[in-house]
């Protein structure tokens, strides 16, 4: 009995969180039904739902999604692995740091989006340029988080490794990486969010497929329903990435508090 009441209480406590988004939805639907705006300006929530079902059933949306995620996957994998590698090496060895830090710091000052025209000129408008842009966006949050994390490892850990005469490779895989997992994962989460945003922007500028291109086509054809579906899908995917990595962080960070 108490359990049921507890559930009801938590429902009441949480239901307030849905109030304002629901209110917005209701106002949106109401404005549409009254017909203040023409359909080219505002489509009803139901219309957006219908369009998204249509786009999904025709296979258009899955195809765009697949292309976007393919680019994101490759770019993020390359950028974050390079970031991890350089972050560890620069954190461990001062000489590596002094070679690369000034260059990396100056490149970091330029927003990724500003590199898009340059990269288009070098790599063309095909897949390579998008993957490079995503990799650049992923690289810097990861390298910064990794470098800071490695610098923050207690000195005693390194002394232990010296006592056991661990080879560098084992020092990295057995001590450095486990000790730095939580902050590095935070870096990965930031990197994934930025990569996703930059990829959508790159697809808006130059692409023949992908969620961003779908929105841009929708804009050019005055199909606001398609644009809204794109906005919702990009928001949802960004949200899922964030939540997913947060739960991984909570899971992998557990050992710290035992």
């Amino acid at each position: 009995m108490t359990k049921v009441w507890g559930w009801a209480d938590s429902f009441r406590a949480h239901s307030v969180y849905f109030l304002s988004p629901l209110l917005l939805l209701v106002i949106w639907a109401w404005v549409c039904s009254v017909g203040i705006f023409p359909e080219q300006i505002l489509v009803s929530p139901y219309g957006v739902y219908e369009t998204s079902r249509e786009l999904w059933a025709s296979g258009e949306l899955p195809l765009h999604l697949q292309d976007s995620l393919y680019r994101l996957g490759w770019g993020f994998a390359i950028g974050s692995l390079l970031g991890l590698l350089f972050g560890v090496l620069m954190g461990l060895f001062q000489s590596v740091n002094s070679f690369f830090a000034p260059s990396f710091n100056s490149i970091r000052q330029v927003p990724t989006i500003a590199f898009i025209p340059m990269l288009i000129m070098i790599f063309g408008v095909e897949e390579t340029f998008k993957i490079v842009v995503v990799a650049k966006a992923a690289f810097f949050p990861v390298i910064l988080a990794t470098y800071d994390a490695v610098k923050g490892i207690p000195r005693s850990y390194f002394e232990v490794s010296r006592v056991y005469q661990l080879p560098t490779w084992h020092l990295i895989t057995r001590i450095v990486l486990p000790a730095t997992t939580p902050p590095i994962l935070t870096g990965f989460r930031l990197a994934l969010g930025r990569s996703w945003m930059v990829l959508v922007a790159a697809e808006l500028i130059a692409a023949d497929s992908g969620i961003g291109q779908m929105m841009e086509m929708g804009r050019q054809m005055f199909r606001i329903d398609i644009v809204l579906v794109g906005v919702l899908v990009t928001g949802l995917i960004g949200f899922l990435f964030d939540r997913g990595l947060r739960s991984v962080e909570a899971h992998l960070g557990k050992w710290k508090y035992r």
Partner: protein, 259 residues
């Protein structure tokens, strides 16, 4: 011996230049491989010449000022609105329950993904640009204002209730100064996001003056030299603004007795 050490130190500082010099050499080498290569890998001398030309004609300055205007307008509009909304959420639990969830829902959408929508609604003029930049500045300021004011020590609020402050006095005299460090951190984030989104909107809308527009036109005309100059200006201006704002925030926080 000491001199030798200093010399070694100076040499090791030069290491940082090794990579850029190597890249520049490879770039110059590639540019001499033929006319086709020289299109992409513009000779370094050409970049310098174009830079002087852009400076002389005033083109660089006009575009830079236009971009700065969009950023600053957006930063002020978004920052002030963010401060008010965040403050309201911190003062009133009802407002927090109503606005909070909506804020966190809308924040999930990547800002530049909103550009097609905003372009459909408001066209691709200055208003749309400023709207997006304001939104970019709005989000971090709300979050930091709210968290800063929520983190104010209880004893300050107790003192203000002893002094019978009303809500407005509480806000101005207690919450705002106490949350200032957090708010200024939010403004620093807001500046970075505003700068990025200004360049992004200029690239995507490609109307009116601005460094993004300059880059877009240069790319279509295959003028790599201008693109590089624009990229460098964007990076440098961003860095200078960031440092300037940091100085200002240090000045505003000089009353704090930290360390």
């Amino acid at each position: 011996m000491k001199k030798l050490n200093q010399f070694a130190l100076r040499i090791s500082r030069l290491r940082g230049f090794l990579l850029p010099i190597a890249v520049a050499l490879i770039w110059e080498f590639m540019s001499r491989q033929g006319d086709a290569y020289a299109y992409t890998f513009v000779p370094l001398s050409q970049i310098i010449l174009s830079f002087i030309e852009l400076l002389k004609s005033g083109e660089l300055l006009i575009n830079l000022v236009a971009t700065l205007q969009t950023t600053v307008t957006g930063l002020i509009l978004g920052g002030v609105t963010g401060l008010l909304v965040g403050g309201l959420m911190a003062v009133s639990p009802t407002a927090n329950k109503l606005i909070g969830p909506l804020y966190h829902t809308l924040r999930q959408v990547p800002l530049l993904g909103l550009i097609p929508l905003i372009a459909l609604w408001f066209g691709n003029g200055l208003f749309s640009k400023v709207l997006i930049v304001s939104l970019a500045a709005f989000y971090p300021v709300v979050l930091n204002t709210f968290e800063g004011m929520r983190g104010v020590e209880k004893k300050y609020i107790e003192v203000s209730s002893v002094l019978k402050f009303n809500r407005f006095q509480l806000f101005i005299n207690v919450l705002l100064p106490a949350a200032m460090p957090s708010i200024l951190t939010g403004v620093m984030h807001a500046l970075a996001f505003a700068w990025i989104s200004t360049v992004g909107t200029e690239l995507l809308f490609s109307t009116g003056p601005g460094l993004g527009g300059l880059m877009q036109i240069a790319q279509e005309a295959s003028r790599m030299d201008i693109v590089i100059i624009a990229v460098a200006s964007i990076g440098l201006t961003g860095l200078l603004m960031n440092n300037g704002l940091f100085r200002i925030s240090q000045y505003l926080l000089r009353w704090r007795s930290v360390r």
